[in-house]
């Protein structure tokens, strides 16, 4: 048996996630009360028996480097294989930064040189799903495909955000259109999960690298070209939950979906554990007078107030008399006494002053700075922001990372913006 090897593309800028991915790559964005988005892909790999993985980073890799490290939580700290973080580096042969997804793999082809694999699995670190890649391998081999693309049906409204495929009944792909305007192509979207024949991959990447007009992207360039030429490209229809948490709204919805009685993924399944790097924290502590329902509360939290319909991350403290409602609150954020956090996403290590109101009022004009991403009424508070006591923050407001009490002159109106120090990056 030959081995298996996977590349995970984890360079995602995630610009539609606004503040959440300002200082971290999208795969490092916290999700589901204790995970990072990339944990799902990494865990899928090890649960599928793939223990040899290269993670390609580019945009703000620090948080990912820290998170993945030598791969201990995933049993990827191995003598043979394991996980390798592949950052772009200037070299004589290649340009330098990764141009597109295809270029990123092209620049790392040397990692395939000595690996005895027939196929190469290429994944994205941006998605939340549970998938046994063995099924994909079996599908690929039984079709004698050169490339198998995993696909899923997406809602009509979202078709324009994905690469959309048309297939014959046997799965053979006949058309591919990246981010189409209309619905003519159907609703089968590429999940960014590709299984390539190793030799075909190398051939096609070398070919693409030589095309000056190409943006060197799988979705924009390589796939359309292969499909147009009638290469052996097959689509594997993935039947289960798959979520691209691309926008603030979808990020919010996807997190809160885990509060339902029938969550989209069973995170408690002992046969398919989602692994993550977690600090040693004591169990969640519920004080007298705490009132928590319909929520996710991990170890390290300390709750004396009211929490409902919310996802908390480790180390969050909710003081007596405080209310957290319909919100996502990340690691080690403190919600002060009597404060109310309503429909907000609060990043790590923020401090909400006593009696503050985050997400106040009925009006919600879109955010002044990013109207296209922040218009559904959510308030976003950046990492380490300090909100003064008694401050009132309207809906669709954006509070930058690392702002301090003195940066606020008055309450923040709906759609308002308070920016933090730019130089902190």
């Amino acid at each position: 048996m030959t081995g298996r090897y996977a590349f995970i593309l984890a360079g995602g800028v995630g610009s539609r996630l606004c503040l959440l991915s300002e200082r971290r790559a999208k795969p490092a964005v916290p999700f589901g009360g204790k995970y990072r988005i990339i944990d799902f892909t990494l865990s899928n790999c090890v649960n599928s028996g793939i223990f040899d993985i290269g993670v390609l980073t580019q945009y703000r890799p620090t948080s990912l480097n820290q998170h993945i490290g030598i791969g201990r939580p995933w049993d990827l700290d191995r003598t043979h294989g394991g996980v390798q973080l592949l950052q772009p580096a200037p070299s004589a042969a290649a340009s330098d930064w990764y141009q597109g997804t295809a270029d990123a793999i092209y620049q790392n082809l040397m990692h395939l040189k000595r690996r005895r694999v027939d196929e190469v699995l290429i994944l994205s670190g941006d998605h939340v799903y549970k998938m046994d890649y063995n099924v994909l391998y079996a599908f690929h081999r039984s079709n004698r495909a050169q490339l198998t693309v995993a696909v899923t049906e997406v809602p009509e409204a979202e078709v324009s955000q994905f690469g959309i495929l048309e297939t014959e009944p046997n799965g053979h792909v006949t058309a591919f259109k990246e981010k189409p305007r209309g619905l003519e192509q159907g609703r089968l979207a590429s999940m960014g999960v590709y299984l390539f024949d190793r030799d075909a991959l190398i051939r096609w990447l070398v070919e693409d690298a030589a095309i000056a007009s190409s943006s060197h992207d799988f979705g924009k360039d390589v796939l359309p070209r292969l499909v147009a030429r009638g290469e052996g490209v097959f689509a594997y229809r993935f039947p289960d939950y798959w979520q691209d948490v691309g926008t603030l709204d979808s990020y919010y919805q996807a997190n809160l979906a885990f509060l339902s009685d029938t969550p989209p993924l069973d995170l408690h399944d002992p046969a398919w554990v989602m692994h993550t790097q977690s600090a040693d924290r004591p169990p969640a502590r519920f004080a007298a007078g705490a009132h928590v329902r319909d929520s996710i509360v991990p170890n390290g939290c300390s709750i004396a107030g009211e929490v409902s319909n919310s996802v908390l991350f480790p180390g969050v403290a909710v003081a007596r008399g405080a209310v957290v409602r319909d919100s996502i609150v990340m690691h080690d954020t403190v919600v002060g006494p009597g404060a109310i956090v309503d429909r907000a996403i609060v990043d790590k290590e923020a401090h909400v002053g006593a009696e503050a109101r985050v997400g106040h009022g009925e009006e919600h004009p879109p955010n002044r700075a990013c109207p296209e991403h922040l218009s559904s009424g959510l308030v976003v508070v950046g990492k380490r922001a300090r909100l003064p006591e008694g401050i009132v923050i309207g809906r669709n407001a954006r509070i930058g990372a690392s702002v301090v009490e003195g940066d606020f002159t008055a309450s923040v109106p709906a759609g308002g913006v308070v920016d933090g120090p730019e130089s902190m990056h």
């Binding site: 204790k34 004591p282 169990p283 969640a284 007298a288 928590v292 329902r293 170890n299």
Partner: protein, 419 residues
């Protein structure tokens, strides 16, 4: 600290802990919602800069092997030093269970000789506390002591559980009495000793059995420089059901004397990967610790819940300690009970009814219901307290669905069911 080796004694089967220690050492007993008792001394070692640790295990060593492994969780998986689990072993000339604490050290003396520390720190694996051992070494050095013991003040009524120590004004130990019924001494030895390597080695040559009776006491009586160092923080010997229960419940006091939430001195443990706690729409949780992996839709009050516990809608858990993956089904009520792992409390069952003191020979139960691993309480079943249900207890153990106060049900072996 390269010049120190710690030895953690995890001897006792802890007979007084009944079903809780039927299949595990006391030091492997789950504590505080996600820890094992031995995590406390191991974490103290880690944070005090001790890099070389031996764990002397006799009773149910598998439970410790499993938990400690190569010592990763405590950064004790090292090339130099690190943690070793030292079990009784056979050689061609000798096969010996550990006859006592001193004998356990003697039988492993060759390992100490190999590592050649200047000092040996003897600890117990059965104690819950947070202590910086560096303070102890400092005192030891300042006194130029041969041995230094850590002592703590205990109520007079507790003296018969401990070795009681009296000191002079400089801290030098004058007397050491083992478990006296009555004494004027106010301080108990915590079972924490710093020995000069040579002093300990010399004493072990006569093949002593017990560290206190055969090593420490003779040293005190012969006028050696034995000093006491007072520790005033929270410290509990998990030697009885009552102390186990009380130390757990201490954690949910409004101002607990034992703090777990401290980023500078975290208690480290071998952590399983479990999702965050899911709190349902009908839950009410107060004054409790709830670990990752729990799913709570009922009422939880003044209790400690370990990973993976499920409390169904309408169920109630009050004043209890519930270990990993135990399920409390809808409408069941659990009060003043310690439920071990994988217990199932059936729908509408009631555990911990009444408040009878129970017969005198069951005082060790401290008025609680103990339920052993894998036991099933039938739906609608009633268990009065105090009572003890053995490992793997089944419906047949109940008469008319009930166990009256003072009932003790023995352990079952799991494979008996397979016949």
């Amino acid at each position: 600290m390269r010049d120190v080796m710690a030895l953690i004694l995890s001897g006792g089967g802890g007979e007084r802990l009944g079903v809780l220690s039927a299949e595990r050492a006391v030091s492997a007993l789950p504590f505080g919602g996600k820890y094992r008792v031995i995590d406390f001394p191991l974490s103290n070692c880690c944070h005090s800069g001790i890099e070389s640790v031996g764990v002397l295990a006799q009773h149910a060593p598998a439970s410790l092997n499993d938990h400690i492994g190569a010592g990763r969780a405590w950064d004790l998986d090292r090339r130099l030093g690190g943690v070793m689990i030292l079990q009784p072993y056979q050689t061609r000339s000798h096969a010996g269970w550990y006859r006592g604490t001193a004998d356990a050290v003697t039988q492993n003396w060759s390992i100490l000789e190999e590592r050649r520390p200047d000092r040996v720190l003897v600890l117990s694996g059965d104690h819950v506390y947070r202590m910086d051992y560096r303070a102890l070494f400092l005192a030891h050095e300042q006194h130029g002591a041969a041995v230094t013991l850590a002592v703590t003040r205990v109520p007079a009524a507790q003296s018969r559980r401990f070795g009681m120590v009296t000191m002079d004004g400089s801290g030098r130990v004058r007397t050491l009495e083992e478990k006296p019924e009555r004494t004027s001494a106010t301080h108990a030895s915590m079972g924490i000793y710093v020995f000069e390597f040579g002093v300990l080695g010399e004493m072990l040559r006569s093949r002593p059995v017990d560290l206190v009776l055969d090593v420490l006491r003779p040293l005190v009586e012969s006028g050696e420089r034995v000093y006491a160092h007072e520790f005033s923080g929270f410290w509990e010997d998990i030697g009885t059901v009552g102390s186990f229960y009380a130390a757990n419940l201490e954690l949910v006091q409004p101002e607990p004397r034992l703090q777990l939430l401290d980023a500078r001195w975290p208690i480290l443990t071998r952590d399983e990967e479990r999702p965050a706690v899911v709190v349902g729409g009908h839950a009410g949780i107060e004054r409790s610790l709830v670990a990752n992996g729990c799913r709570i839709d009922g009422r939880v009050e003044s209790s400690i819940l370990f990973p993976g516990v499920r409390v169904a809608r309408g169920a109630e858990v009050v004043d209890s300690v519930v270990m990993a993956d135990t399920v409390i089904e809808a409408g069941a009520r659990v009060r003043r009970a310690v439920l071990d792992k994988y217990v199932r409390v059936g729908e509408g069952a009631q555990v911990g009814l009444g408040d009878a003191a129970g017969p005198p020979d069951l005082h060790w139960l401290a008025g609680l219901v103990l339920v052993g691993k894998d036991a099933w309480i039938p739906p609608g079943g009633r268990v009065e307290r105090p009572a003890s249900i053995g490992v793997g207890g089944r419906y047949e153990d109940f008469r008319d669905g009930a166990l009256t106060a003072g009932s003790v049900v023995g352990n079952r072996r799991w494979f008996e069911e397979l016949r």
